[in-house]
C-alpha cells in the first residue's frame, strides 16, 4: 500500500527542512506543496529526495492540500496523509493513522482531545474548545477535534471528500463531506507539539470563519 504524505507549506523556511527530513528518514514518500511562500521555504528543501511543487500565488492551506491530494490520486498512491509543515505533528502518529486505514477505515482524523496528552497553550485551548462547541452545536459535526490538520484517507474516497475551500475552513468542509457521504471514519489520538514557533505563527484560522461557516450551512 503506497502512502504519500502531503505537506502544505507557506513561509515555513525555519521548520520545513527538519520536518521533511524526519519523514524521509522514516521512509515516507513526501510531497511538499509550497503555497506561494515569499521566504526561503522552497530553497530550504535542498536536496531532500521528495516530490515538490509550488503554487504561483498564495491560495491557502486548503488549496495546497487539494493540489497534493490531486497529485497523489494521479500518481497511483493508495493513502494520503495531510501533515503540517511547522513540526507540530509527530511522525510516529502517521503510522497510527495508516494502520487504521489498513484496518478498513476510509478516513482517519488525528484528534488532540481523545486523550489529555497534548500540551495545549491556554489561549489555544479556549479557542479550540469554542471551535469544538461551535462545530458540534451549530454545524452538527460530532468530531472531537474539528480543526485537526493531521488526517489520512484512501485515495479512492478523494472524490467524496473533495473540498472547495482554500483557507482553513477546509477542515470543517472535509468533516461535513465525511458526514454527507457517510464515509467510514475513525478518530485516533495524536499528540501535537505546541512550541513558541507553532503558537505564534502569523497564518492562523480566523474567528470570522465561524460566521462564514454558519452562512454556508444556512445557504446550502
Amino acid at each position: 500500500m503506497k502512502t504519500l504524505v502531503v505537506i502544505p507549506a507557506y513561509n515555513e523556511q525555519k521548520r520545513i527542512f527538519v520536518t521533511v527530513k524526519d519523514l524521509c528518514q522514516n521512509g515516507y514518500d513526501v510531497l511538499v506543496v509550497d503555497d506561494g511562500s515569499r521566504d526561503a521555504t522552497w530553497k530550504n528543501l535542498g536536496d531532500l529526495p521528495i516530490y515538490r511543487t509550488r503554487h504561483l500565488v498564495n491560495l491557502g492551506q486548503g488549496a495546497a492540500l487539494r493540489t497534493g491530494s490531486e497529485f497523489a490520486v494521479g500518481a497511483g498512491y493508495d493513502f494520503v496523509v495531510h501533515f503540517d509543515a511547522d513540526g507540530q505533528h509527530r511522525v510516529k502518529d502517521i503510522e497510527k493513522l495508516v494502520n487504521q486505514l489498513k484496518a478498513g477505515s476510509e478516513v482517519v482524523i488525528g484528534s488532540r482531545f481523545l486523550q489529555k496528552k497534548s500540551d495545549l497553550p491556554g489561549k489555544k485551548k479556549i479557542i479550540l474548545g469554542l471551535a469544538r462547541i461551535f462545530s458540534k452545536k451549530v454545524l452538527d459535526l460530532q468530531f472531537s477535534d474539528p480543526q485537526s490538520g493531521l488526517r489520512a484517507f484512501r485515495t479512492r474516497v478523494y472524490k467524496d471528500l473533495y473540498w472547495r475551500k482554500n483557507d482553513f475552513m477546509h477542515c470543517s468542509e472535509i468533516m461535513q463531506n465525511i458526514k454527507k457521504k457517510n464515509l467510514n471514519c475513525t478518530e485516533v489520538s495524536i499528540v501535537v507539539n505546541y512550541d513558541e514557533y507553532a503558537t505564534n505563527k502569523k497564518v492562523k484560522p480566523k474567528i470570522s470563519m465561524g460566521w462564514k461557516m454558519m452562512i454556508n450551512k444556512l445557504l446550502n
Binding site: 528543501l45 529526495p49 516530490y51 511543487t53 509550488r54 503554487h55 488549496a63 493540489t67 482554500n166
Partner: protein, 114 residues
Amino acid sequence: MSVFQVLILLFIAFVIFRAAVKLKQKQISVWLFGFWTLLWLIVALIDIFPMSVSYVANMIGVGRGVDLIIYLAVIILFYAGFRLNLKLNKIEEKMTELVGKIAVDSTKKNQGEN
C-alpha cells in the same frame, strides 16, 4: 436653480464630454454613446425639474422624490455588490483551478540522497 443643481449639471456635461472623446477615438460605438448620453440627459432633466420625480414618487406611494431616488440607488448598489461578489468568487475559483493544475503538472521529484 441652486448651486448643487449647477454642480450636477457640470458633472453630467463632463461625463458626456468624456464619452464624446471616446466616440471620436472610436473606442465606443455610436449606439453606446447614444445610450449613455440619453441616460445622463434623463438625470439632467431630473436635476432641472426635481418635482417630476416627486410626481412618480407620489404615484407609487413614496413620500418624496429624493427618497425614491435614494431607495432606487440603494437597491441598485446592493444588486451591483451582489453581482460583483459572484464575479469575484468565479474569478477566484478559476484562478485556484489554474494555479492548482499548473502545480500538479509541474510536480517533480528530487533524487537526492537521504
